[in-house]
Amino acid sequence: MVLNISNSFNISASALTAQRLRMDVVSSNIANAETTRGRYVDGKFEPYRRKMVVMQPYQEKSFANALQSELGEPDLGRGVKITQIKEDQAPFKQVYNPTHPDADSNGYVSMPNVDVLKEMVDMISATRAYESNVTALNASKSMFMKALEIGK
């Protein structure tokens, strides 16, 4: 019983963690929207590449879960997990700016493939998702508090 309640806490908590990490990645992308020296490759600087999170339903292979499924408990999801952070392979933006220290021989500078508009949309989406998970967590909490009133 306690395991079950804490499980619904864990589900919401995993989503909070995931959305927060997503927010961190968005922050990193926006902060580095003008970074021309993201990585040093073959004696040349490469601009920052936009990063994206990959989310997957969380399937933990633990003893407790194995026992629960053996006991005939329905197999539920156990939240969400960010399995990797991938880089956007879209081409870099070419901006003509001959005075820039990282300009090539033709005067073009490779700028990061970050689209601030996209990042803003992602940020709002992450914020809203975070909020709805807080609501779900509060609902679980208030149910748990109500259960403590049984027999009072």
Binding site: A18, G79, S142, M143
Partner: protein, 142 residues
Amino acid sequence: MKVGKIVNLLSGASYERLQGAIDTSNLRQKVIANNIANADTPNFKRSDVSFESMLEQEMDRNSSSLIGNRTDSRHFYIGPKSGSMVSPQVTTDETTVYNNNLNNVDMDKEMSQLAQNQLKYNALIQQLNHDIKMKRVVVEGR
């Protein structure tokens, strides 16, 4: 015999039904929390808990179904078992698509179900508390 009755003070049919409903509410909370947690996960499909409709069906069947006549206690019982507990089922909706990433979580629906489930849970706890209070009145005699 009397001792047994006192020990079984809190194990009548109505308690069992309440317990089943509370367990279902708990399970549903978990399922909805998982749906909300995976609202942005590509290819995720939402799950649902069905219990009330199944219980209703079961109870309907109990009132109007064929029951075999038994002339000996060793005879097989034919027909639905009375008061048999229906256990909640978790079903996954694999057929619909709601978002571009093949995810079918409708946040508005999930949030309203979350609120509904919470209210239902509170109501069930209140009912359980009421029942316990009634028993307490009997025990204390006032």
